[in-house]
Symmetry: C2
Subunit: 302 residues, 2 copies
Amino acid sequence: MSVNIVVVGSVAYDTLVTPKGKREKALGGSAAYFSTVASHFTKAGLVAAVGEDFNPDYLAFLKDRGVDHSGLETLPGKTFHWAGSYDDDFGDATTHKTELNVFEHFNPKLPESFQKPPFLFLANIHPGLQSKVIDSVQKPRLIALDTMNLWINITLPELKEAIKKVDVLFVNKQEAMMLSGEKKLATAIHSLLKMGPSRLVVKMGELGAMTATETNRFFVPAFPCPEITDPTGAGDSFAGGFMGWIAKTGDLSENNFRKAMIYGSVMGSITVENFSLDSYKNLQQEEISRRYEQVLESIRVQ
Amino acid sequence: MSVNIVVVGSVAYDTLVTPKGKREKALGGSAAYFSTVASHFTKAGLVAAVGEDFNPDYLAFLKDRGVDHSGLETLPGKTFHWAGSYDDDFGDATTHKTELNVFEHFNPKLPESFQKPPFLFLANIHPGLQSKVIDSVQKPRLIALDTMNLWINITLPELKEAIKKVDVLFVNKQEAMMLSGEKKLATAIHSLLKMGPSRLVVKMGELGAMTATETNRFFVPAFPCPEITDPTGAGDSFAGGFMGWIAKTGDLSENNFRKAMIYGSVMGSITVENFSLDSYKNLQQEEISRRYEQVLESIRVQ
């Protein structure tokens, strides 16, 4: 099966402390989350770099999920290592350590079989690299891009250049304000849609997420998760569910993007119930369908 | 036509400065907004007090809208007068003056014809008065209550006493956190639902609003309003649309509460497009239906 969606991002060791426990050097990184989740929908290929110390069990995990990891380079040195903790309210993480290691000089190389990707997701990396990847591939049907406040602060011109080239922009509410320089979400949305993307996905944490085009707004509530164990990767899992569904169906209608939002919400909820990517060790397709129906029911008006 | 819904609250003079202009002593107050809006759905009765200086044109306005104002007392002294302004972002108002005047000693008196109200809305007044009103009427089918951070800060025990007796509690997100003492909305909702009400309506400003029971969550996006003129009364108008629809239909099913949320969103959007209650001078029923369909379409997934 040839690769239907390519993600370029990070594969990392995450050392985590949450109110539910701790984990040392768990599998993490935006591309690990995204590709694992998207693989539940379609064939996903991963482009990232790890060090020589990368745990072979983690590679086996990705392989077992069906992820095409031929774009995962092993470089001399150590794997990107992030350490952080979450308070009782599971709000923003407190970062204790960021050792970029091999990720510092990451220069994405797409294998031959990844160079005509029908769908492309640029996870949160330097916007210069995001642009470079876009320019290097045969034009995909849909390109989506995620970013973070760091790049808005230090590489704004390059970020704007990258954003110009994409169809879907993922941001959270705070990033939407920062990037647009607006004070209200409604005007921020309008301003961001003038920068290039025809669609935004605005993540609003525990509330859910909104997708917006010039003519449509659609809000999906977060799946109710009473038992959060580890919020790491919730956003990348949302993107993995969203893009995985779009890539699987190939349907770019407004209605199908709304379904994609629900799948995003569902996959985010599955990820955060366990540490790292543990939720995906035994995930059944029926669990995804069950949650999809539950979210759908929560927004239905007859 | 006998009164189907009774609102107890304030009728006030509002002196306003917004980025769109200014108004001196415009008609305002929670009960004025609520009753005007609810009258577009069903027969609404108003309980409030004004001073001898109250503008007879405003009384005529309420009468023309079909509001039963037999519960509007005129007391010796001056009408409650609030002065405030809004910044460019139309966020929280800055209060310049609050002259309570006759409202300081407001003691709601319900006319005989208001004492068996099928539906009752307690707008934002002292929680001791809210309790007293509840105890004085024959048990309504549904009681809803609105409040504000002031009462949470200075009269928490009395507020909790009042909340125990109601079915639906209206709060904004900040009030939900303050009242529950929780840091996350999901846990705040859980905690508030243990205080008495079986349903919450959590207003989230420009995003929209959520209704929550122990088993259901439903989110309605704000109607897109590019032309806000005066945000005063948006919350009371939401409540007026919500409760007006419930009172008109008498249907307390989850699905009908979701429709009520949409009517709340619609009526809030109509109010803020003009100063004071000016939007209701010539409002056509078709405009309400048109906006209802537009919001419904924005949340539909097929």
